[in-house]
């Protein structure tokens, strides 16, 4: 291989390939896939649903137009599985116009009609698709839940993507071997990967004639590789990466359009066995092409694809390897909006890893990994029922939801619970404070019994939410996934992973993203203080909230002066612990379609903005339509005593109950890091941020296990906004918006403002 390509050449090609990818303005492949599906639907009607889907997949893979770019050293793309849909990276996105991602036919609005893809052609496929059992059942679910979802007391969605396939068996033994043991529909589906490799080999073959000598050698090498994999197992890193891409491509096509947040797991461990002594530099060069693969078109529309490095074994030993460092090199040099990088840390993580991470945190505009505390994840998931042997394979689906690679169908974003909205409806007796519409028949709130009234309503809404979420999962189960199931335990069980009557994966659950714990805790404490110190306000509070405090400045001022979560103040911090714990218990008590628990996940992937827009003024003094707190973080502006106190509050939360994950963010001012090299700053980051948050606790309590940071200041980002050409000459300035990173310059103004606002420097000050 090194005779055909030098490491420098591979890198140069990867950069050209990325440029080429970002120049793509149209994404039509998903539509073609849907069109093919419609065209051949009748042809396979006599088969069962799994087999029918497998045949359709084979048709799609056989017919979809393919190409090999002159810059490609590997064949494969996931462009044909994605549309230009994800709202947050669209500069015209407006918080007030957001209506969720739930309508599966809405995607047909994301393709611009032209002479080839005429309106008529698009509408025809859309109409056909609308008739499917999946779409009609899902529509019924949404119709039934409309009163609850209208102003987002809760929200549900069908979960596509959001899983971590285990390709290790396939990489080792090859697809042909898997086909020998797979059930019939899965066997058919697996064949798609071989068909795809064959088609790419043919394209490469056809390019030989017009290729110069150098390219000819490279194409011949590609053809040789495609003749081996994925049919046979991979025997070197080149083959392993090629095979991985083809499997990924088929997996995404099976769920087109928009299977967001499929994730890789520990890429360093997946590929290390195939490195065969390749140097770090050469390995990094090859992995750059692997990373480019995850970027789809002009804005990297396939979002939240997570790749992990690092982590520990069951005995506590570190599992970092040479490929971990090569992968970091590849990430740093390419600095692309996808795939997102996460690092698993633990007490025995070598300092070398922290030193090498310094450059990510402290180079402006460079991506930053999110951080996981593997020790805590072991404790939380172990207690949650994951077998010890599976704990090293804890991976991250999408933003921050921990799942076991290849064994866990967590339906991570199945349901979303908006606690501040439920508080609003508790206080008002079911009437929206924003619109005056009666959204539920609830008894009118009483401040003296507010807590118990609220929790009762949380139970009510959680149970309705679970019913709707299960409805969405059942609707989706009409769309079988025989290919993906092969990498999720289906090879052994023979069961489709979406089956709602038989469990095809070793672990199964449904996610519930819980929003707004800091607002609830702050509100309860403020109401206590109001009753004790200003009983004369009791009768006025609801009016004050309904009028968004207009004419009630005195009440708002008082509410704002009460204790707030995030400042290491005992009463309100304990309240937050109580809110998180009780709501987690209520959510865990809900059962999904297989009678497994819903998993409490305290994350808010920009939904703190979107749902906040639908919540009226709250008794903590927050005004109507303002954002909610992000994940488990204090509400913006309420933690004012610096990083130390904010971390101390964070350390108290019941992470052992957050088995579905949680989100937390710190905006860090680089001025507090004084070492004169990136390596030194990396160690300082360990000492000042990672150690106190993850590894300082001497109690038996489970420590925090997730963090993302943006190391910058509001002033710096204002400069980037004002003069993008000066501060981001490449056109790419990577920031994190939540679990995912994005090109800051691709974002809508509302999302840019959210990033700037949540840097919240007073909450993270580390010195006078």
């Amino acid at each position: 291989m090194d005779k055909i390509y030098s490491a420098e050449q591979i890198t140069m090609l990867a950069k050209e390939l990325f440029r080429h990818e970002r120049s793509k303005k149209r994404l039509d492949g998903w539509f073609l896939a849907k069109e093919i599906e419609c065209e051949c639907a009748g042809k396979y009607d006599s088969f069962d649903a799994e087999t029918r889907k497998a045949y359709i997949l084979k048709e799609i893979v056989s017919r979809i137009p393919l190409e090999i770019s002159e810059y490609s050293i590997f064949a494969g793309t996931q462009d044909d599985a994605f549309a230009a849909s994800y709202a947050l990276i669209n500069p015209s996105f407006k918080v007030e116009e957001f209506s969720g991602y739930c309508d599966p036919t809405a995607v047909f609005g994301d393709i611009e009609p032209n002479s080839e893809f005429t309106e008529e052609r698009i509408n025809k496929v859309k109409a056909e698709y609308s008739k499917s059992a999946y779409v009609s059942e899902l529509t019924q679910v949404y119709t039934k839940a409309e009163k609850d979802t209208k102003e987002v007391a809760y929200f549900v969605e069908q979960v596509t993507g959001h899983l971590i396939p285990d390709f290790r068996y396939a990489l080792k033994h090859g697809v042909a071997k898997m086909m020998e043991i797979a059930a019939e529909p899965m066997k058919l589906a697996l064949e798609s990967a071989i068909i795809l490799a064959g088609r790419y080999a043919d394209i490469a073959e056809s390019q030989l004639d017009s290729a110069d000598n150098e390219r000819k050698k490279r194409l011949e090498f590609m053809i040789e590789t495609l003749n081996n994999v994925p049919k046979k197992g991979a025997s070197n890193l080149f083959e392993a990466i090629q095979m991985f891409m083809l499997l990924w491509q088929v997996m995404c096509l099976e769920q087109a359009p928009n299977p967001f947040a499929f994730s890789v797991g520990n890429a360093d461990r997946i590929f290390e066995p195939y490195r065969n002594g390749l140097s770090r530099e050469y390995t990094a060069a090859l992995l750059k092409h692997f990373l480019v693969f995850f970027n789809v078109a002009d804005r990297s529309w396939a979002i939240s694809q997570n790749i992990l490095v690092g982590g520990r074994n069951t005995d506590g030993t570190d599992l970092t390897n040479e490929t971990s460092y090569a992968l970091l090199d590849a990430y740093y040099d390419m600095n692309m909006p996808q795939p997102i990088l996460s690092v698993k840390l633990h007490k025995n993580t070598p300092d070398k890893l922290y030193r090498e991470l310094g450059r990510f945190f402290f180079t402006p505009g460079i991506l930053t990994p999110s951080l996981f505390n593997d020790d805590s994840l072991y404790a939380a998931l172990g207690a949650g029922g994951v077998d010890a042997e599976d704990l090293p394979d804890i991976s991250v689906a999408g933003c921050q939801e921990p799942l076991i690679m290849g064994k866990d169908n967590g339906n991570t974003t199945n349901s979303w619970l908006n606690l501040p909205k439920i508080l609003e409806l508790t206080l008002s007796g079911g009437v929206s404070l924003l619109t005056g519409e009666r959204l539920a028949d609830l008894p009118k709130g009483n401040l003296k019994t507010l807590r118990e009234d609220f929790y009762k309503n949380v139970e009510l809404y959680a149970s309705r939410m679970a019913e709707s979420a299960n409805g969405a999962a059942k609707a989706l189960s009409n769309e079988k996934v025989p290919f993906l199931s092969c990498f999720m335990g289906g090879l052994e069980s023979g069961i489709d992973l979406r089956d709602t009557t038989k469990q095809g994966t070793k672990y199964n659950g449904s996610g519930c993203l819980i929003h707004g714990i800091s607002i609830i805790a702050d509100s309860f404490i403020a109401v206590d203080a109001l009753l004790a110190e200003h009983p004369e306000y009791e009768e006025k509070l609801l009016d004050a909230l309904g009028n968004n405090f207009e004419g009630y400045d005195d009440i708002r001022e008082f509410l704002l002066s009460c204790h707030k979560f995030g400042n290491n103040i005992t009463d309100v911090d304990n309240e937050a612990v109580e809110v998180a714990g009780r709501v987690a218990d209520i959510v865990s008590a809900q059962k999904n379609y297989l009678q497994n628990s819903f998993r409490p996940d305290f994350s808010s992937p920009s939904t703190h903005l979107l749902y906040g827009y639908w919540v009226g003024a709250t008794p903590d003094g927050r005004k109507a339509r303002e954002m909610l707190g992000y994940g488990v973080d204090p509400l913006f502006g309420e933690a004012i005593n610096g990083m130390g106190f904010r971390m101390l509050s964070a350390l108290k939360l019941p992470y052992e109950k957050m088995v579905g994950g949680y989100a937390s963010h710190l905006g860090i001012d680089p001025k507090y890091f004084r070492a004169d090299s990136y390596e030194g700053k990396g160690m300082e980051f360990k000492e000042k941020i990672v150690n106190p948050l993850f590894f300082s606790s001497d109690s038996k309590k489970v420590a925090p296990f997730y963090l993302y940071v943006n190391v910058t200041t509001p002033e710096t980002l204002r400069k980037v906004q004002a003069e993008p050409k000066k501060y981001a000459p490449s056109g790419v300035y990577i920031m994190r918006i939540h679990g995912t990173f994005v090109n800051f310059l691709d974002l809508s103004p509302a999302i840019q403002e959210d990033i700037i606002k949540r840097l919240d420097p007073k909450s993270t000050a580390m010195g006078a």
């Binding site: 290491n568 610096g642 130390g644 000492e687 300082s696 010195g767 006078a768």
Partner: protein
């Protein structure tokens, strides 16, 4: 106790990450003071009992990394001497690393030594009259406390805020300090700054207080040549 500000600070008010309490009230009125809001003992602040403070400090242990702990600063912490003394004693019993930043004007300062891990004391001027003119009080007690520190062998950091027009020459300091056993004493030269100027509601009287980098180096050079070890934090 009366506290006007608290927060964590890394390696600036003692080693490691430290919880710094600024205690209300000061007996001096230095013209360059960067925390003028802490001068008036009757000013607006939070009141906590020593028990509450100890509880708060114990709840913060997770943040005392890299050899950190608690620092009492001001204002002037020794103005609340009885409570401070009790507090330091309790904290030492609990194994908390303690530090104080003082202007060195309290006569009983030496009695706190057993309970202080890191003593930081200002020594603003060697001449009592000049000291009085710029800070409102003479420096006899400061000198006496310095002598006690030297005699006891207590490790201490002596801080000299160097202000143009007030003390911008090392000679007098050096002649004073070199008479003593300074084995365990370190000196820090703090160049004048105006970070606190905006907080003054009375006229700010220092007109040209800034010194140059060369001035700082001149101080440090002369100190070190005379066996007075300087540090930069």
């Amino acid at each position: 106790m009366r506290i006007f500000q608290k927060g964590f600070n890394y390696s600036q008010d003692g080693p490691g990450n430290r919880l710094v309490y600024h205690l209300m009230g000061c007996n001096l009125s230095c013209k360059w003071c960067s925390n003028p809001e802490g001068m008036d003992i009757d000013g607006k602040c939070t009141e906590l009992t020593t028990k509450e403070i100890v509880e708060e400090i114990l709840s913060c242990k997770a943040m005392f990394f890299s050899g950190g702990g608690v620092t009492f600063s001001g204002g002037e912490p020794t103005l609340q001497f009885t409570e401070l003394s009790e507090l330091l004693r309790l904290l030492k019993q609990k194994g908390i690393n303690t530090a104080i930043e003082t202007n060195g004007t309290h006569k009983e300062l030496i009695s706190l030594f057993p309970f202080i891990d890191h003593l930081m004391m200002d020594f603003k001027h060697y001449d009592s009259e000049t000291h009085r003119k710029w800070t409102g009080a003479g420096n006899e007690t400061v000198q006496a406390n310095f002598k006690s520190i030297a005699a006891s062998g207590k490790r201490a950091l002596i801080r000299i805020p160097v202000i143009n027009g007030f003390n911008n020459s090392p000679d007098g300091f050096v002649s004073f300090f070199r008479e003593f056993n300074v084995e365990n004493i370190r000196f820090e030269i703090l160049p004048y700054h105006e970070y606190g100027r905006v907080k003054w509601d009375k006229p700010y009287e220092v007109t040209n207080g800034f010194i140059t980098k060369d001035d700082v180096e001149k101080f440090e050079k002369m100190f070190n040549e005379n066996g007075l070890k300087t540090v930069r934090m």
